[in-house]
Subunit: 218 residues, 2 copies
């Protein structure tokens, strides 16, 4: 009985890691759509998000089944509830990738990102994609050190966001209000993807150690 | 035993309604800080958010205690898990109010909101505050009709956001990039508060009927 439970829990964590990989692809393709202005790539992100939603439902259903049939207590119970929260956050990261893709689509045949801020947006996207990729591995390996290290990547994201704002608000900005608003919102979306990545990693720390590394948002 | 369980569940829902009232106050005060430029009011929102975080922890602790000691199944189990998700979303709504307050504080002694978009932002804030207030009552009364009606208020919010964008991006906009970026982000924050309000209301529908009114985000 307990073994069956832990097998099912392992399968649930493999599913979570799989969703996280789908999110990583979504972040990568949304960024590609943004930087190339290719509407077909933007559409792929938007369509693929339905799969992420469906996968989330599957994990939720199996979590409830596990809670009902196995009645786990103590750390097992907390693990299942943590999985439910992780899947909500992963789905949200998928939604944020869709927001990025939709900004790209809205500006076709133009590019949403003007040349001077392109390196900052590219780096933000790179940091976000890298963080999401690391979270997949953290979920698979339950590696606490990697999970704790992820908070530092988040600091770079905060710094990038400040730099992008300085750029938009400088007197040199020659790309108008629309581009500035797009960049501000894109910065917000990538930052939120990074926040959720840290939060999911923190939940893995909680599952393994029974303690929260710090207060995590939802 | 079952009666004790339902008493504890009722207390948890009263706590959730109480947190929702704190969030309503946060939205109201954050908006007041924004429209008056009073930094003391902004600080109150930021400080009070710690209470919301603490209240969230208390609800989480009692939910886990309930799950562990009472081992609820079927609809009772789903109710406790729904409460855990609701409290996460309420906390997030508090964080979003803090973001609004911080934009107000950042622009002191000026106002973040230029005169021409003031009515739109006021209306967004009004809709958000009203929705949060209605959610408190929906949690208390478990009123399904009110919960389902909340989705319509969300439509007004979407419309307001589109109107604000049209304003920012019109050729008449004479308030510069900084104000435009502030308005775009403020619109996003109020819209997210509204999204979470709908989502919390949908979870009440789920608790009462056992069915989701539509797919809800987290």
């Amino acid at each position: 009985m307990r073994e069956a439970f832990h097998d099912q829990l392992d399968r649930m964590f493999r599913d979570l890691a799989g969703i996280c990989e789908s999110v990583e692809t979504a972040v990568r393709l949304a960024t590609e759509a943004l930087l190339t202005g290719d509407p077909a790539i933007a559409e792929r992100v938007i369509t693929a998000d339905e799969d992420i939603d469906r996968d989330r439902e599957r994990v939720e259903d199996s979590a409830f089944l596990l809670l009902t049939l196995q009645q786990p207590v103590a750390s097992d119970l907390r693990t299942v509830v943590a999985a439910l929260r992780m899947v909500s956050e992963l789905e949200r990261m998928g939604d944020l990738s869709v927001h990025v893709a939709k900004i790209a689509r809205l500006r076709v045949p133009n590019l949403a990102v003007p040349e001077p801020v392109r390196p900052i947006i590219e780096r933000m996207a790179e940091v976000a994609e890298d963080m999401v990729g690391r979270v997949s591995r953290i979920i698979t390996d339950r590696d606490i050190d990697d999970a704790l290290a992820l908070a530092h990547a988040d600091e770079e994201m905060d710094q990038l966001r400040r730099t992008s704002f300085a750029e938009l608000l400088s007197s040199d900005w020659a790309h108008g209000v629309e581009a500035a608003v797009d960049i501000a919102l894109l910065g917000r979306y990538y930052e939120r993807i990074a926040d959720h990545a840290v939060s999911v990693a923190n939940r893995v720390v909680f599952v393994v150690t029974g303690e929260n590394p710090r207060t995590v948002g939802a």
